[in-house]
Symmetry: D2
Subunit: 111 residues, 4 copies
């Protein structure tokens, strides 16, 4: 993958305070794909001791955003307009991995 | 509103580490309704300087959850199974308020 | 409301075979708003005798589309890119009414 | 796959007037999976000549419902509570195929 584009994707990560603050790491960048990892700790939990839905949503949103960024031109940028998330099972474990990939890249929208 | 139920809603808030860590405050509890407030700071931002979508999603999710908790029996609990969010405009400003309300309370699902 | 724009909204309705075939009627057009009506019959039902979710989704989609069309320029057109629907209660009754309204009208997206 | 369960899935199809009326056919049933086919005609179109989003939503909803029915007990039934759909590209062509599969089958919800 193009190094310049890779650096643009990385910038989305490095310049996002909230994502750094959460402890998310960008572990892989490919064309229209990226992976992120989070080591959950006590602060990421909700009232039942599970990882908070908002943490999962943040990972999903930002990982998708990174993969979308890799799908558009160097001079273009992306911003989230909507997402839908289903929580299929309780998030536990000592390492969360999130995979973001592009299903369809259009002129105005990337899904 | 019943004080005991109100305290149960408050517990959802007080016991959720991630929500406390973000700085969210529960400012109002009514039947099937609640309001939360967040004073955004630098750490809540994404790469363009806006409030991160994940912060908004966390507020929306947790505020909805609190309103749902107020709609079910004292001996019942709630957990998020899914949500959809549209980002209608950039989140800026020095105070975010989120209103959670119940549209439909069923035996198994609250929307 | 501008008559020319009203006629453009009506065209979305009149030229949509599937909507006419279903029996949907456009009963009201305003700026960023429209109402449609369907008189349900046996053919609209699913296996439990309720109105099929697909009928409700079609009404919601097309009514939203009409309201969105009224929100954009005369020389612009709209097409559905996504929707989310919650089925809050069983659809019964002898007259279904659907209200479509615009929450946010942007340059590229209307919600 | 169990023949009795297969027949229950088929019933969801055969007893759904709207689905029969549209011309949808159930072409494959497996555990937690099914396929449906629709031969589009003029009546399925919207104002631009594409297959109407409501037709696609109906296929997606009903095919998912069939796969969900195959995932629950013989004495249980399913009903749609919500769905989200993204329209990734214009639906054209002379044969639409829809694949429904189960991602997660819980006690109360099937996704």
């Amino acid at each position: 993958m193009d190094e310049l584009k890779q650096s643009r994707v990385r910038l989305i990560f490095d310049n996002a305070n909230f994502v750094r603050d959460l402890g998310m790491q960008l572990t892989r960048i490919e064309d229209e794909y990226c992976e992120t990892v989070l080591i959950p700790s006590a602060r990421h939990r909700q009232q039942h001791g599970l990882i908070h839905a908002g943490v999962l949503a943040t990972m999903a949103d930002h990982s998708s955003g990174c993969s979308a960024r890799s799908a558009v031109g160097l001079d273009q940028d992306v911003v989230s307009v909507e997402f839908k998330i289903n929580f299929l099972r309780p998030a536990i474990g000592d390492r969360l991995r999130c995979r973001g990939s592009v299903r369809r890249s259009g002129r105005m929208l990337v899904v």
